[in-house]
């Protein structure tokens, strides 16, 4: 991707974070008010990073999906960025490290920590040199995003007990996976481009 386009993309990706930080700094929002916006943004970006793969497998590559695939790594790294912001907000809300550690055994909390850890590895090896050096293992390590996505959803459900919003985020993925599964078989696509 061209440098200027990438800068533009990252400005767009960073905008919600800037708004959240602005609301917190101005005192308009408490740290606890930002749990939802930051966490949901992370999950949404994760879903956006996960969708083009199965869609490209299902429908074959076209210009739109190629462009989407081309920015996929950026979306994934941004998802991790919002997860880190989510953690920073948590630290601001809890104020004491001891209080954060005391919450670790709560399922709603440790699922979040593990989701962040699972995202950290694919995010850390997202640059070109790591991709070249790791070869086939790169793809395998990137698949850590699947447990990360599942853990994020469980983290969300256990804290909120509201199924609707969490499942709305999972639904497009399930549909894309089903499409890949059914349409790929019909076309005998043996190797995925995505």
């Amino acid at each position: 991707m061209k440098g200027s386009r990438r800068i533009l993309l990252w400005l767009v990706l960073a905008l919600p974070a800037a708004l959240m930080v602005g609301r917190f700094v101005s005192g308009e929002a408490l740290a606890m008010d930002l749990y939802h916006p930051s966490g949901e943004m992370s999950v949404r970006l994760m879903v956006l990073a996960l969708l083009p793969g199965p869609l490209a497998d299902a429908f074959g590559p076209n210009r739109f999906l190629r462009a989407w695939l081309a920015i996929r790594r950026n979306l994934g790294v941004a998802a991790f960025g919002y997860a880190v912001l989510h953690l920073a907000i948590y630290a601001f809300d809890m104020q004491q490290l001891s209080a954060m550690l005391a919450e670790l055994p709560i399922p709603g909390i440790w699922t979040g920590w593990f989701a962040l850890l699972a995202m950290a590895i694919p995010a850390a090896i997202s640059f070109d040199a790591a991709m070249r050096r790791l070869g086939r293992r790169w793809k395998t390590l990137q698949r850590l995003v699947y447990p990360a996505a599942l853990l994020s959803l469980v983290h969300w459900l256990l804290l909120d007990w509201a199924w609707g919003p969490a499942l709305v985020h999972l639904a497009p993925l399930v549909i894309a996976w089903l499409l890949r599964f059914t349409m790929r078989r019909g076309r005998f696509v043996s190797r995925s481009i995505a």
Binding site: E103, I106, Y146, L151, W161
Partner: protein, 109 residues
């Protein structure tokens, strides 16, 4: 047939899902207080004293359904959400990160 690594990762995730959901279900999204019309409710600001008596640091108060909801930190630093009856201002149920840690005797809402 061999399972690709992605399938194994998924299995791992599903195991975590099962483990997480195996915890007893506590819903804090749908607490009902049977409080009647809002005209009969006590002032929400009276909860400040309640929070002070509990030695909580009050973060936020709001109406949630037909209950008063208080977000606070305990003196041990725990982050909690407490529901109070808007008429009697009785503490009904307290959640900590999605887990119920207190329930008033006889309260089923």
């Amino acid at each position: 047939m061999t399972f690709p690594r992605s399938a194994r990762f998924c299995a791992l995730g599903l195991a975590a899902l099962a483990l997480g959901l195996g915890a007893p279900a506590q819903a804090d999204g749908d607490v009902t207080c049977n409080a009647g019309p809002q005209s009969g409710w006590a002032k929400m600001s009276k909860l400040k004293k309640k929070a002070w008596l509990e030695e909580w640091k009050l973060l936020k108060m709001q109406v949630e359904g037909d209950c008063y909801e208080v977000y606070a930190r305990t003196k041990e630093g725990q982050s909690i959400e407490a529901f109070f009856h808007p008429v009697t201002l009785k503490k009904l149920v307290v959640f900590r990160r999605g887990q119920e840690i207190y329930r008033a005797e006889g309260f089923t809402g």
